[in-house]
Amino acid sequence: MTSASEAATRRTRVPFAEAVRSRSLGNGARLFVLENRFNPTVSLSGSLHAGGLWAPAGRRLLASVTAGELSKGTERRTKLQIAEDLESRGASLSFSADASDPVGADIGGAALSRDVDVLLDALTEMLRLPVFPEEELEKEKKRLVGAIQQQQDLTSARAYEAATRRIYPAGHPFHRAPASERIARVEALRREDLSSFYQERYGAATLILAVVGDFEADRLLDGLERRLSAWGAGPSAEIPAPPAVSPSPGEETVPMPDKASADVAMVEPSTLARRDPDFLACSLANSALGQSSLTSRLGVRVRDVEGLTYGIHSSFSATHWPGPFVISLTVKPESRDAAVAAAREELGKFLESGLTEKELREEKSSRIGKFKVDLASNAGIAQAIDAAVYYGFGVGYLDEFPSLVSAITKEEADSAFAHRVDPEKFTVVSAGSF
């Protein structure tokens, strides 16, 4: 039994800025660890600058394939040996480079705390000693071609991809080439392409690793340093500015037979990047407009009142580079025009009068509450630390976040959103059985 006063003490937490132990290595790697002894597990989140932006235009997929192939064999062990060592302990480790963030490649991992060394050994080997076996790449190419075809069956993917082709020029990291072109590029991939992308982009200088869980912090930092300190620094962290985009808005329909539900993507290029000073204000405004199908303005109108959709969302995709602003919805084909008109009307009203005081208050408490809830697991904390450092805010951002959100005014949120979203610039693509 816990008394109320004990409960109060318990909830007074040590700030993350103090609790997180960090170490920077001579080669530039930045390590962050946090002891959390409640459960015998360890979670790891990391990143380095090896995203699609760094691959040649027209061959952006090199980034994601290289990240994926890091786990396919090292100088010490085959893919199967590594997988056996991890899977036999219920541990997992993955590398990926998602097209939505052209700058970074992500690392994720988890293990029971008794297996933390097994996890870190595998991580180090994959990062430092990958061999990219020929036969594994050939297998992966076949799988990827199938996966691209499988994805062509999704109305959501087809609508979004077509929209990006109207907005971003070929070669731009956000331009999604037609499936046939992407398949041809996959088929043309050679082992040497992966090795040279790896040699150019993988290095300690941009590496961030955050590890949270049941371990002794100093011992873990020592272990990471021992494994990583001799790794070469590689490229520096300088990120080129994104090219200006000047799309001509339009409408398009992608016909797909036998689809009971259609997808609509309303897309425009945004200028909002994660580090912009108005990012939080803008994203708070967007939450009121379209973060939730149940409670946001678009959801209340198009789902709750009109019953036209199961899901409608709006979102920015802001990383180091500004990604697109997207309103997406699913709808039966006959109701598409009504749903798009309703969404446009709600957006217009929102741009005209902005957030209500009640919305502002509720979105703030929502954002702060969700932030706490997201920090409720080892994995959640590790990801938050990784992201805060990746975007240059530092670990203290986790402590400051609630007050940064609280301080946002209606004027800031309204003007940020109006500045970043132009209702005349949408390209509207529908995919389905029209």
């Binding site: 997988a83 541990a91 199938g146 499988q150 398949i183 037979p257 409720a376």
Partner: protein, 455 residues
Amino acid sequence: MTTHAPNSKSEIRNPKSVLGAFDFIEEKAGIREFRLKSNSLRLLLLENRVAPVATFAVVYHVGSRNEAVGHTGATHLLEHLMFKGTPEYNREKGTAIAAVLEALGARFNATTWFDRTNYYETVPSDALDAVVKLEASRMRGALLRDEDRAPEMTVVRNEFERGENSPFQVLYKQTFATAYREHPYHHPTIGWRSDIEGVTTERLKEFYDTFYHPNNATAMAIGDFGEEEALAMVERHFGALPVSPKPIPRVHTVEPPQEGERRFLVRRAGQVAWCALSWRTVQAVHADTHALAVLGNILGGGLTSRLYQALVEKSLGLSVTVVPWQFRDPGLFSVFAPVRPGVEPSAVESTIREGIAQVRDEGVTEAECEKARRQIEAEVIFDRDSTDQIAASLSEAIAVADWRWYADYPGAIRAVSREDVRRVVQSYFQDDTLTAGIFLPKDGASAGAAGEEEP
């Protein structure tokens, strides 16, 4: 939303009065079971201090298993209407349920499945009382207005349509509709389209009044709170709700034995063929459940598993998903695999059947068995990293068995031997109990060239 603090403190000063409202039933694996004396609501408490958050969930022991033709999908449609309000929480008052939860920063939702409907919220722990109050309000106070049903029906119909877009979902629905002929697992939880469209508000109300009662529900709180504090909240908000006026109806339909392989074929526009094989197995509380779970990992748990090696590594399938379904009534053991374009679906099917035959004829190795046991053991420990994950696992356990089944699960998995794994394959994986389904892209894209033209 935070005015509960003084109340709960005054309750805490007098814990006996709170404890007096409950019967303490049992403790296992840190989970403590209570029962509200006034109305038989079951309550599970699990303190977990991982972070200053708590998850509250209510599981109703009603799912699509309790439906029949004419109102299939009613449980799920009702779950949607449960967000439309109560006298205290509604849009007109500016206190719509989802808006109140959003403002708390809650991670929340509700889901319906064969054996249960569950509602859950994860919130900063100082908002626990607010969500307990909200769930109590909609246990008996849901408005269920016809003017809300009409637009929500079309929302659910779009959810149904989205499902129809997915070859995997089409296959899984057809699998159950084929493997079960008499038992209500035959129809999908989302319902048949015409039932979704046709069910009346009166029928939904009847459903609500039949099944939504404290004595047909289990509530749980997991996370950062004191026991007395949580008991006080539950007593304060749920204590006055009455027991159901009539006993909760039981499902008595039993699926008879299957006497021969069943096959189906779905031909629809699409890019990739799929293969689905399912064998009739046992109910979750059956002693063989754990051996079937271990078998599931041996066949499909990761890159080193047998079917991943046989299908994906051999470039026959694009991926493979193995599901040892666990239900209140006898379930299925399913293998789903998208076929790599250019490969005949029959090659994937025969590879899966050979994989099963190998286990039947030669058994599995001790190393494979140990790996699978350790994977499942690790999953259970990872669950405890977050309160909502524990709540999700515990909810499923309650739906198909009871919470002790969850508490006993790791021990039962540990006890599974390689002989058990071979024995369950010999017992259940017969051709006569198999349902095999194929999804074929209508234009024969599966056997065609890899390239594809943009429209």
